[in-house]
Symmetry: C2
Subunit: 358 residues, 2 copies
């Protein structure tokens, strides 16, 4: 009766032995597949009883091996540190990813060891650790294109948070619609009478920057304003931005409004704060300022910058959903989606000064 197969955890074989049936039958009863209701009620009861007596719980590893799916979604960042800090620019993305992932029955794997290692590469040690997960959400500004390309080549399922393009392969992404948001910002300024709008862009040609520039041009076109190439300026280091600098643009080029890409650190906002502190230029009386994105963190934003804001949490959710759609075969081609940014009124733009003295 009570044969002692007490070695480790009870398995379906143990149950089978005890109930006098085969392992297959046990599996049918336990996991209740399609053919499950063909099992006679008496045997079903016997199996369940035996399972209960032995305290059986199914082995996840075996199930997932069999099911060819780990039900794990990965998150990897190209940033130097994993965005668990609430003030991190990327943190809200993570929150969104987690939310959708959990809701869809997957667990979330944070590839933070890879991130924190000295040799921080997806392929550290020659292996693609991301493959542990069924698929992966990637994020971060300074992407390693070679690694992205490698992932595409071995067609590992992933979704990038932010638009990224590769010369050869296509990849899936969920992006913020920088083009429309920037364009709208320009037309809003134009509506306030601004005609000389300076656009300070990042120096690298990353997609987010390219999109903003495209939006800038599009907005000017919509507003019927000419594009003055000299009003598009690259800013290597936002710390460069000083009151003198700005006065120069206002006096020399007749600039009345400035669009700036915020950085993910505090350099830009500190620079702006510094300028405001000098009181040589008043925002928005002397010059309107709008940020093309979110300033870092939700620090006490004393000056309430006029800006647009990325739906970061929703982008995270959408990325997870998209990835799971890919994994479960509801989609296959690379997917692209752009989400609208929201406009934050703020108080740093106003009507254009009516021409004026320096």
């Amino acid at each position: 009766m009570s044969l002692p197969p007490r070695k480790g955890r009870p398995t379906q074989v143990d149950i089978a032995r005890r109930a006098g049936v085969s392992q297959a039958t046990v599996s049918l009863v336990i996991s209740g597949g399609a053919v499950s209701d063909q099992v006679a009620e008496s045997t079903r009861q016997a199996v369940l009883a035996a399972a209960a007596e032995l305290g059986y719980t199914a082995n996840v590893a075996a199930r997932r091996l069999r099911g060819k799916r780990n039900h794990l979604l990965g998150v990897y960042t190209f940033e130097p540190v994993f965005p668990v800090d609430q003030r991190d620019f990327y943190y809200p993305f993570l929150v969104g990813v987690e939310e959708a992932t959990a809701a869809l029955g997957y667990d979330l794997l944070l590839f933070s060891s890879v991130t924190s290692a000295a040799d921080r590469s997806i392929y550290a040690g020659g292996v693609n650790r991301l493959r542990i997960a069924d698929g992966c959400v990637l994020l971060g500004r300074n992407v390693r294109r070679d690694e992205l390309a490698a992932l595409v080549r071995e067609d590992f399922p992933f979704v990038f948070l932010g638009r990224r393009e590769l010369p050869d392969g296509e990849l899936s992404y969920v992006a913020a619609d920088y083009v429309t948001a920037t364009s709208d910002m320009v037309t809003t300024l134009a509506g306030h009478g601004h005609e000389r709008i300076l656009y300070l862009r990042a120096i690298e040609d990353t997609e987010p920057t390219l999109d903003r520039e495209a939006g800038y041009r599009q907005g000017l076109a919509t507003a019927g304003l000419p594009v003055d190439e000299s009003l598009i300026q690259a800013l290597a280091d936002p710390a460069e931005l000083t009151a003198e600098h700005l006065e120069h643009w206002i006096a020399r080029y007749g600039v009345t409004a400035v669009l700036i890409e915020p950085t993910e650190d505090t350099r830009l906002t500190s620079a702006l704060d510094a300028i405001a502190a000098t009181a040589r230029i008043r925002f928005p009386q002397d010059c309107s300022i709008a940020l093309l994105g979110d300033p870092p963190s939700w620090t006490p934003e004393r000056p309430d910058w006029t800006r647009f804001s990325l739906p970061r949490v929703e982008m995270g959710r959408e990325a997870a959903r998209m990835l799971i759609d890919l994994l479960e075969g509801r989609q296959d081609a690379p997917q692209h989606r752009s989400l609208r940014c929201s406009f934050v009124t703020g108080d740093s733009i106003g009507p254009a000064p009516s021409a004026g003295p320096s």
Copy 2:
């Protein structure tokens, strides 16, 4: 050359085919077992090259089934929602766990997927999905003891964040030293001349509450004060706490100071705020108040409550470290560790009122 076995994720068989060896050889090279150095250098290189080209990573489930580890640490919470929100009481624990986990070269698996209904369960669906990880950090207030016991029984490696005891088995935990912290708070109050200190405790006999009560008694003993059992009161719902209530205690029992366990939601602090708003009792002039723990952080802490604060981030780190020690065999017996709380001066305690009217 480039045969197209492009189906899903590459396996050792795929590598073997490509490198012209057997699967066994691949396994030897990859996982580097004991016999691993018998492999000829040339074949080793061939295998590694093939693996790199295919972007191979060992299948977690298969390794787990085989009884192997994957450098994966899990986190599971008994709370209804995973603490990714920065304002969540449990959030700092998560940050600490992530930090230490990454630093020690492990990746972090968040078991956030909620399979079915309201009550979270480790064994939902008759599976212990935690086992896909090497070990797990558990947290949450309303623990399911039966599941904890089951985990102990199947000796799955885990560490609880907070002291938890089970009738039968032993488990490892990292806790806050509530006893000492509460005791110190009592002696501090005694130093201010308080002799009648009311202790409002949670109604359930959970370990954190038991520890605080022990600390209360110990503190009184240290201060040479008698324990009046009627000054130990259970508070079912913190919302019960009203000005009338408190006045009653002050007038009838000569209470001059109150110790309260904060809840993880805002009920307690709102109740206190409400009392302060009535202006019928002034803190600390009429009565000193000290919190035995951290109030929830989704309130701007206008009144700066005197309290002690748990080293939550450090507790998280310590839990991860402890778990990894267990996994890597540096420890085996269940480990217990208590970390000191820090004292937050605040402004809600003061000298005892010199006896008094009404």
